[in-house]
Amino acid sequence: MVDRKVRVLIAKPGLDGHDRGAKVVARGLRDAGMEVIYTGLHQTPEMIAQAALQEDVDIVGLSMLSGAHMSIVPRVLAELKECGLQDVSLFIGGIIPDDDIPRLHKMGVRGIYGPGTPLEQIVAHIRTEVGDD
């Protein structure tokens, strides 16, 4: 009788308007049987954390193509912590230079997926992160 679904927040922080990647991922996760809360463009770190809190999601995915990831990601992580959501896993997708990847991992980002990543890989990452195997 227990109807359990993985809930994922897909958000696009910052100012760039290229949301095709976020939409492709959102659709792919839906097709994998997950519930995807899609917030759309231009989200502030505060909006993302509030949405994660109210929607009680298991995991948050950010789409970043503006190059602002090194300043936005720490703010999202701080807002999540502020809301008591430090256990919610964060992954990012988009254009992330190789040099930044270890630094983002160190901040607490659990997965980084650039263009061309097979959707199955992201699905598998989420299932492992939320313990839904």
């Binding site: 227990v2 996760l29 917030t39 502030t44 949405a51 839904d132």
Partner: protein, 356 residues
Amino acid sequence: MSALRGERYDSSALAQIVTQALGGNRRAIAQLITVVEQGGPAAREVLAQVYPRTGQAHLIGVTGAPGSGKSTLVNEMAKAYRRQDLEVGIIAVDPTSPFSGGAILGDRIRMRDVATDQHIFIRSMATRGSLGGLARATADATRVLDAAGYPVILIETVGAGQSEVEIARFAHTTVVLQVPASGDEIQAIKAGILEVADIIVVNKADLPGADNAAAALEAMLDLNSVPTGPHHGRDATAQPSTGDADSIEHHWRPPVLKTCALRGTGVPELIEAVQAHRAHQQRSEYSRLKERERVEGELRGILSQALLRELLNRLPAAELERTVARILAREQDPYAAAQVLMAQAGISQNRKESTA
């Protein structure tokens, strides 16, 4: 995953979260909604504690075709209620994909204005497809918000099926959205709009055809509001049946309002109408009867699901399979098969005839 997810849960941790949620803690509220949405024993434990605190909120259903502007209007309505210093809960329902069981819940896109308001709580829900399950999960999520002290709860659903009608039954006030050029008044009759709506809104009223749409809906309402008493040569001895809510003339004619949700035009008038409807309901006998009917309907629904589960528990697992195969082979009809299965489970059908 949180300790509250899945079949196993920690009862004392759950009780603590209930206490926090009743005190208004937003994280606890979010967690409880997850629990009640999942159903099962943890959900029942939560509802047992939450239920006595419910019944305070004004539940407002907002329904209409996809793209008619529901989320945008709900966003504007929430802002209007905030101007009255009322806290607002929002439950936004989007469909589950019948193929994958997943869903994209996108109502927050249109609710950016209120996304960080600490006095507004927005929760997206997927229909999840189980029969009657949406109405149950939505009702129970609403109860969590109600018990947590949200005096106004907006429930947004795509108006396209039976489950939405059930939600309309659950809400105190149902707002139905129409858009210009969405078909003639016969379409409105087919869609059941006039039966469900307490308030009809023609949204996107800046588009051509809005006045025509509103006029057509008004005309249909004129047909609808023929008095039920004896008149015009109708049999004067015919008595309307008493006791069920629908037969009681409650003298509320749904107003037809025009809004342009994107700009907020017409929203103050809509809020006024919604509040007038609530006040009207509270004055009349109708709302008490409707509430009684709803509670009985809910109880019957829970009983029928529980009975079905109990019946299936009593049958050997393979028996249902074999019966389905017999029906497929045209060896037995489904009614006879159901009788046989009930007898096998020790439930006699004949008793019904003797007590009826």
